[in-house]
């Protein structure tokens, strides 16, 4: 069945978004014993952005298998349906209140309101647009975000163009470079403003190198030309401060510019519910159980922080699902009283979670973050109130790959009387 339209009055756990995060959260909440679950998805089918990622490389960690996006999603959709968890597709959530009153709209079911015990935010992210970059020039047709182009090609069956320049070397840009070649187009270059690719190394090799597509590092698009349809872009080299260097302009004749210049967690709804966001991740500030500052509202997946591997999304979402189920079983449960705060130190950006409840300093605590630049043979240092706690060495750390460290059992227990944990990178 593709078009879920089951319903569940006053669900205990209500999940917004049916991508890998929402699916894993729903399944985990069920397995934790919760039976009144409802998942809402605005697309006509479940699976989120994975439905348009028809390349393989998903699930290497969780399933030890190289699945395509839709295959990976299907494994979770099957689990969801086996459990009989209610979901509605073609249903867009319009509003969430601080008291977890959720308003949604669906063509057949109309405008609905649900009073949820707990809410899990799993809305994913959106792509940054040309406007946000302020690239001057004409407003011609032929400029698309890479994800929009991916949808045109993989879901709708149309090629957006024949001669292509890609700005940004994020994973979607890299994957789309290869996809466009498979679709008979010519990819002239992938242009990246930073001195390194922001995508996974394996994608640079498999999507660009294998096809002889040049990757122009420390370059950016400085002008867009063409009336009607795009006819050319001007590419310039940039200096260390990312400013275009006059005299380095090169013109590429092309009919399409794809933008893969960053993903932004989709938090308009969260803001409306009073959820506080991090300026670094653009996602909610959460604790180790993925609970936001609003009691009973949890977040996971790309809405929380942008992930590069879907396996991590599924793991993180399971934590949120369990926590949301627990929350409903203890009505009136507020936020924990005392927190240990996490801080980004040198070379570290966007540590998640941002705080840890002292009462749950047990088991394993996994912290994730992104390095702020490329580091070779470096160490990740964890400090508690300025005192070194643990150090782990890495051969390479790059902003394109999320890094993580775990703190276990005994070490965790020693943190009870501490205030602040700092992660930093030490170069050798």
């Amino acid at each position: 069945m593709q078009n879920g339209s089951q319903t569940c009055e006053n669900p205990e756990v209500l999940i917004i978004g049916g991508g890998p995060a929402g699916l894993a959260a729903a399944i985990a909440a069920y397995d934790r014993g919760c039976r009144k679950i409802l998942l809402l998805e605005r697309e006509p089918r479940l699976g989120g952005i994975l439905q348009q990622c028809i390349h393989t490389g998903f699930g290497l960690q969780i399933f030890k298998d190289e699945l395509s996006g839709p295959e990976y999603a299907q494994r979770y959709i099957d689990q969801l349906e086996q459990r009989g968890i209610a979901y509605q597709c073609d249903t867009m959530v319009l509003e969430i209140s601080e008291q977890r009153l959720v308003t949604s709209v669906n063509p057949r079911l109309g405008l609905q309101r649900f009073q949820a015990g707990s809410v899990i935010l799993a809305m994913g992210c959106r792509e940054r647009s040309r406007g946000a970059l302020g690239i001057p020039g004409t407003r011609s047709a032929g400029i698309y975000s890479a994800g929009t182009a991916q949808r045109f090609v993989n879901l709708e069956g149309y090629v957006p163009g024949k001669k292509i320049v890609i700005l940004g070397s994020g994973d979607i840009g890299l994957i789309m470079a290869r996809r466009m070649v498979f679709s008979g187009a010519e990819v002239l270059a992938v242009v990246e403003i930073m001195p390194f690719s922001s995508g996974l190394k394996r994608n640079v090799v498999q999507c660009l190198d294998d096809f002889g597509i040049p990757l122009l590092l420390s370059h950016t698009v400085t002008e867009i030309k063409g009336r009607g349809r795009l006819s050319a872009v001007v590419v310039s080299q940039v200096d260390e401060r990312r400013r275009p260097i006059p005299g380095t302009e090169k013109e590429f004749d092309c009919d399409t510019l794809l933008l893969s210049v960053g993903l932004i967690p989709e938090n308009e709804l969260s803001r409306g519910a009073g959820v506080k966001l991090s300026v670094t991740t653009s996602g909610p500030l959460v604790d180790e159980r993925m609970q936001t500052n609003v009691p009973g509202i949890f977040a996971c997946g790309n809405v929380l922080h942008v992930h590069d591997l879907v396996d991590h999304v599924s793991e993180e979402a399971a934590l949120a699902g369990e926590a949301a189920a627990d929350y409903c079983r203890q009505p009136g449960l507020g936020l924990p009283e005392e927190f240990l705060l996490l801080e980004d130190g040198y070379g570290v950006r966007g540590t998640v979670p941002q705080r840890v409840a002292k009462q749950s300093l047990q088991g394993v605590l996994r912290l994730t973050f992104r390095p702020s630049q490329v580091f070779m043979n470096a160490a990740i240092l964890l400090e508690a109130d300025g005192v070194a706690l643990q150090e782990s060495r890495r051969r390479i750390l790059t902003p394109g790959e999320m890094a993580s460290i775990s703190i276990r059992g005994k070490q965790l227990a020693t943190l009870r009387d501490k205030k602040k944990l700092t992660i930093k990178i030490i170069e050798s």
Binding site: M92, R126, E156, V159
Partner: protein, 496 residues
């Protein structure tokens, strides 16, 4: 044989078509582009000026004031947004304060009412985000903001409803005098008319100079803008002008009826009448000057830029009325700012002249009202529920940033003067104007346009010919597209 043909479906051509449709006339508007309001009328500051900045005694002064006064009723009848938000001309120095007084005297001479000079304390209250160094400001309460393309679309729809004909994608190449009439040679047809109106914007000199010995020359003058995301809605209530002549020559800051804020325009003379590209230098310049008004300007919230071209003339005034050496040929030329503000009054005046020339009689079935496309996002809970019951497609959001539903998109295509392009849908519904700039809704809008127009998605354009969105079917799986297209087509969609 037409009674009247208007060249150009900008805000002037559309306003005149609506005025003339109050009379029993065989009337057509020829527009070279694929939509109305596709020239200067879609890319401007959207301000209905109070009228204090025009030279006393000029056509600009006269029609601006009269136009401003007509706006309330016009927007009310057509269901177009209008906000009397008032304007402030701000002064940083004593010298500039002196200029404010001059401006106020001009305004009074032009008949602008309600103006007064406001001191710093009151300014803090009126505009808390305004630069604290501002010494004084001229407040003009009658200044307003509207949506220029919605207005043009609404006037065109209403004119069409009352019998006017709108011919899109029809470029007039040449006009010639016959004994008692005019012949228009167009890209795809030939038209005969008794009265010819030249409302061709940047090309108004071409037609004037074909028929009259009194030559004019349009001097294209570009203006570039930044758009600030609507999450900053409410940062400013008034339209803020700096005193011209100081550092920021004419860079203003204004809220729009959609909740965004515009910063601009620059003023750059150029030869090219079609080049609406933006440039890095100008966009930087706007930021610098705008920060003088708004020191806390949030650069990260700039979601886009655009440019429009003014039809400037060295006379620096509107050229309006019948050409003496070309009877039956009427100009609305040199319509640069405040052309939007003046449009209703220019239309009234030209209509009066044309009607008396043709001795036309009243169209008794004229209906001044037009119902806008119902906007889901502005409905109450009960209204939304009722709308979805009436038409389930109100329950499907196509543009997530602006919450535009499939029902609204389809309506914008099916109405008279319906949308034919992605940009036309955007101008009528706002789909694609939000912070993701169409990243989400573009494939969906292309799909709906292709269904409604019965065209392959590969033939759907952004903004008319040569701006196709797609390059064609995917070569490896050509069959798939048509399959899923038919599968997704809604069984039977109610019309309204």
């Amino acid at each position: 044989m037409y009674d009247v043909v208007i060249i150009g479906a900008g805000v002037i051509g559309c306003a005149l078509a609506r005025e003339l449709s109050r009379w029993r006339l065989k009337l057509a508007v020829c527009e070279k582009n694929s939509d109305v309001a596709d020239g200067a009328s879609k890319a401007n500051s959207a301000i209905v000026h109070s009228g204090h900045s025009n030279a006393p005694g000029s056509n600009m002064a006269r029609f601006n004031l009269a136009g401003n006064l007509l706006y309330e009723q016009l927007c009310q009848e057509l269901g177009v947004p209008l906000q009397r938000n008032g304007s402030l001309n701000i002064a940083f120095t004593d010298e500039e304060v002196g200029k404010l007084q001059q401006l106020m005297r001009d305004g009074e001479a032009n008949g602008v009412s309600g103006m007064r000079i406001v001191g710093p304390d009151e300014l803090r209250v009126m505009e808390p985000q305004l630069n604290a160094e501002v010494k004084a400001a001229l407040f003009a309460p009658s200044s307003a903001i509207t949506s220029p393309y919605e207005l043009a679309v609404a006037m065109a729809e209403n004119a069409a409803h009352n019998g006017a004909e709108l011919i899109l994608n029809c470029k007039v190449l040449k006009v010639e005098k016959r004994e008692d009439s005019w012949t228009l040679f167009c890209s795809d047809r030939k038209l005969e008319t008794q009265v010819l109106v030249n409302a061709a914007g940047l090309y108004a000199d071409v037609f004037n100079n074909q028929v009259s010995a009194k030559k004019i020359k349009i001097l294209p003058r570009k203006g570039q803008y930044w758009i600030v995301d609507k999450s900053y809605a409410g940062s400013f209530k008034h339209t803020i002008f700096q005193v011209p002549g100081s550092m920021g020559k004419g860079i203003l800051l204004t809220p729009t009826v959609d909740g965004t804020i515009l910063l601009g325009p620059t003023a750059e003379d150029q030869e090219d009448r079609e080049d609406t590209s933006t440039s890095r230098e100008s966009l930087e310049h706007i930021k610098t000057v705008a920060k003088r008004s708004w020191p806390a300007l949030p650069e990260h919230a700039l979601i886009g830029s655009f440019a429009g071209i003014r039809a400037h003339t060295k006379e620096n005034d509107f050229i309006i009325g019948e050409r003496q050496d070309a009877p039956g040929f009427f100009n609305a030329a040199g319509i640069e700012s405040p052309g939007l503000s003046a449009a209703p009054a220019i239309a009234e005046e030209l209509c009066k002249q044309i009607v008396s020339k043709l001795g036309a009689v009243k169209n008794n079935s004229f209906n001044p009202r037009r119902n806008p496309i119902p906007a889901f996002r502005h409905m109450s809970f009960a209204e939304k529920t009722a709308a979805i019951q009436r038409n389930p497609l109100f329950g499907r959001i196509v543009c997530r940033c602006e919450q535009i539903t499939e029902a609204e998109i389809r309506a914008s295509i099916r109405r008279p003067v319906g949308a034919l392009t992605v940009d036309a849908v955007k101008r009528r519904t706002r789909a694609g104007m939000g912070r993701c700039q169409g990243g989400f809704c573009l494939p969906r809008v292309v799909d709906i346009l292709s269904q409604e127009l019965g065209l392959s998605p590969a033939r759907i354009t952004k903004d008319g010919s040569l701006s196709e969105i797609l390059a064609g079917d995917r070569p490896d799986q050509p069959a798939m597209s048509s399959q899923c297209k038919t599968a997704r087509r809604p069984a039977k969609t109610p019309r309204f």
